[in-house]
């Protein structure tokens, strides 16, 4: 009894660490650079966070299950190419069509993963190869600028209702939907259960494979949404658009406190994690760290965060 109690208390403390870290970072940067704490700057930071968060939200469910998705950056890039090509031809239909393609690639990864029983990181690595090849072929290795006519369709992404960039609303919407999925649907409960103990969940009659396919579809679908938002903000699609985003997205999930071994965590934590990553990035830019060198920091942060959040009792042999 006391053991579980202290465990729970420990979990609560661990869940609070990211929030404290976020507040500390914001205050630190605010002191060093007072202009950071103005409403305008904070809105820009949150708008930048929105796309990263949507990417990270998708993988959150996959990580909760105990898997990983290494194909999101390729899916996001492909959807930017698709939107750029389709906007001029089918107008608003380009968005649902692109999202559908995203869901299908995710469902493909999921089905291959559960049917052929291939480890998820290999399947999604292979999917990312397929998807990247498709993006390169469709775009003929060029970035595609969206013309005046096409930009009219993008106003829902670039607009600023009530003076707030609309991507922030979209990000908030995804967060609410994610939290609802996680707390109030069987899928959310099953995801956590599968991550906590797959064999036991399976034995209690949960259709584990179906939940996994849903999780991978959701991950790629949200990656497609993130790709669409990026395309809207840049007014162009490119086959390598999101290539730098895989690592920050995984880092956001793990830094937020979702354990890479699965079972613990959630969308709410990923919101905090994504904000931390964004604030760290802004902070590094203020200090003058090279944009490429930032990858070094993210790589180190990822390893460190995994080391802290991993549940070592669950994996007896670490491969």
């Amino acid at each position: 009894m006391t053991a579980t109690k202290s465990l729970r208390a420990g979990g609560r403390v661990q869940a609070a660490i990211p929030i404290v870290l976020l507040i500390g970072l914001v205050i630190l940067i605010g002191v060093l650079q007072p202009s950071f704490l103005t409403a305008d700057t904070l809105l820009v930071v949150m708008a930048d966070t929105a796309t990263l968060f949507i990417l990270a939200a998708g993988i959150t469910f996959v990580v909760m299950l105990g898997g990983i998705d290494l194909s999101i950056q390729a899916v996001a890039s492909l959807s930017s190419v698709l939107v750029a090509i389709w906007l001029g031809r089918i107008g608003y239909w380009a968005f649902p069509a692109t999202l559908l393609v995203g869901f299908i690639t995710g469902a493909f990864s999921g089905v291959v993963h559960v049917r052929l029983r291939i480890p998820s990181f290999i399947v999604t690595l292979a999917t990312s190869g397929l998807v990247a090849a498709a993006a390169l072929l469709l775009s003929q290795e060029r970035s595609i600028t969206i013309g005046e006519a096409g930009r009219a369709y993008l106003s829902w992404i670039t607009g600023r209702p009530f003076g707030v960039p609309s991507v922030i609303f979209i990000g908030a919407l995804v967060a609410c939907a994610g939290i609802w999925l996680q707390c109030y649907t069987p899928f959310g409960r099953y995801s956590a259960a599968i991550g906590a103990g797959e064999a036991a969940t399976w034995a209690s009659g949960v259709k584990v494979n179906r939940q996994k396919v849903i999780a991978y579809s959701l991950s790629a679908g949200l990656a497609a949404l993130a790709g669409i938002l990026l395309t809207g903000r840049l007014s162009s699609g490119s086959p390598t658009l999101a290539n730098e985003l895989l690592l920050p997205a995984i880092a956001a999930v793990v830094v937020g406190g979702t354990s890479i071994t699965g079972g613990a965590g959630g969308i709410g934590r990923t919101v905090i994690g994504a904000l931390i990553i964004s604030v760290v990035r802004v902070g590094m830019t203020f200090v003058g760290v090279d944009i490429f060198a930032q990858q070094i920091v993210f790589g180190a942060v990822l390893i460190l965060a995994v080391a802290i959040t991993i549940d070592r009792t669950k994996i007896l042999i670490v491969k």
């Binding site: 029983r117 998820s120 190869g129 090849a133 090279d290 490429f292 990858q295 993210f298 995994v306």
Partner: protein, 345 residues
């Protein structure tokens, strides 16, 4: 086939720690043997097929071209082979290779700075790459973090460091000795790079077959808990394996810098994917303990022949990445012994 008393691991082919059921189940044995040689037959069939569609495939110069295009993938895949034999994975190939190539091109005679260290630059750079491999292994076993997470982080750290020391630009290699690795063809035969790759193959083969480390690698891949209980220094072996991998990626960096005549941070782009594909297509199982460097040679040749064939048949190189994606899934699906895997993460 005559019944055999000894399990086949003792004398022939790929050593297998988990030998198939002992005793005289010939059908099962020969099926296993067939499965083991399947990649080799696939290579021959593929070559004949491409040769039939375009006879220029078998021209002497084209075969040399195939060998040349296989040299860098072979060196990288040999490093990856041992890691995968352990049941782990190393995603840091591109980062380590970039650091190796950038260090070499900055320390030999180049158009960016005044250094002219010649071959000692090569030694320094490859040692640095061994060091990164050591870090990979040490973090993996020290902090008990899955290897794909450690090396995922290290991949981006490597590319970041390479970008940082180069300032985001590209530097041209002016050192004649380095360039000759890719350009000189002793006796009008293979370029030196191919000989370097074959040398690496020989050394890793000796490590695999003739040293204790080699046996330990198979033991750990076959069953880590048993290996640890029988007194094998699991942690030390793992760190050594990641170091060997880092060293070979550094060698791959040397060959890349020689081939392109320059160093830049993105020199390794796309290498991770083709490396893992080659190892797996060759028949080394991702679960560890099965396969080896000769499998990897076959896997690399399949990829090289396929790449060359697609060029000969006029297929866009963009498709190649997609084909690799399909190949990797097919190969893993065929090789996995799914009876052993209850839970796949």
């Amino acid at each position: 086939m005559e019944p055999r008393k000894v399990p086949p691991s003792a004398d022939s082919g790929t050593p297998q720690i988990r030998s198939p059921e002992l005793g005289g189940r010939n059908a099962k044995l020969s099926l296993n043997r067939l499965k083991r040689y399947a990649p080799f037959f696939a290579l021959i069939a593929l070559s004949l097929l491409i040769g039939a569609m375009n006879p220029r495939f078998f021209e002497f110069n084209n075969l040399i071209r195939v060998a040349n295009s296989a040299s860098i993938p072979l060196v990288l895949s040999l490093g990856m082979t041992f890691v995968i034999l352990l049941g782990s994975i190393d995603l840091s190939v591109e980062g380590v290779l970039a650091i190796g190539a950038v260090l070499i091109s900055l320390l030999v005679r180049n158009n960016g700075n005044g250094f002219d260290l010649g071959w000692s630059a090569v030694v320094l750079a490859i040692l640095a790459c061994s060091g990164i491999g050591f870090l990979n292994g040490a973090i993996h076993v020290g902090l008990r973090i899955p290897s794909f997470m450690v090396t995922l982080g290290m991949w981006f750290i490597g590319v970041g460091v390479a970008t940082l020391i180069l300032g985001g630009s590209t530097v041209r290699v002016l050192d004649k000795g380095i360039r000759s690795i890719a350009l000189d063809r002793p006796m009008g035969f293979f370029p030196i790079a191919v000989w370097v790759a074959l040398g690496a193959l020989g050394i890793t083969w000796v490590i695999e077959r003739q040293t204790r480390i080699g046996r330990y690698i198979y033991a750990i891949g076959g069953g880590e808990d048993l290996a640890a209980l029988s007194g094998i220094p699991v942690k030390r072996v793992k760190i050594i394996v990641f170091m060997i991998a880092g060293t070979l990626y550094g060698l791959g960096g040397l060959l890349s810098a020689a081939q392109l005549g320059q160093g830049n941070a993105l020199i390794g782009s796309g290498r991770l994917f083709s490396t893992v594909t080659a190892v797996v297509v060759g028949g080394t199982a991702l679960t560890g303990g099965e396969g080896g460097v000769l499998n990897t040679l076959v896997g690399v040749m399949i990829m090289a022949v396929l790449g060359n064939g697609m060029v000969l048949l006029g297929i866009s190189p963009d498709v190649q990445q997609g084909v690799q994606g399909v190949l990797i899934i097919v190969a893993v699906a065929l090789s996995l012994d799914r009876a052993r895997l209850k839970i796949v993460k």
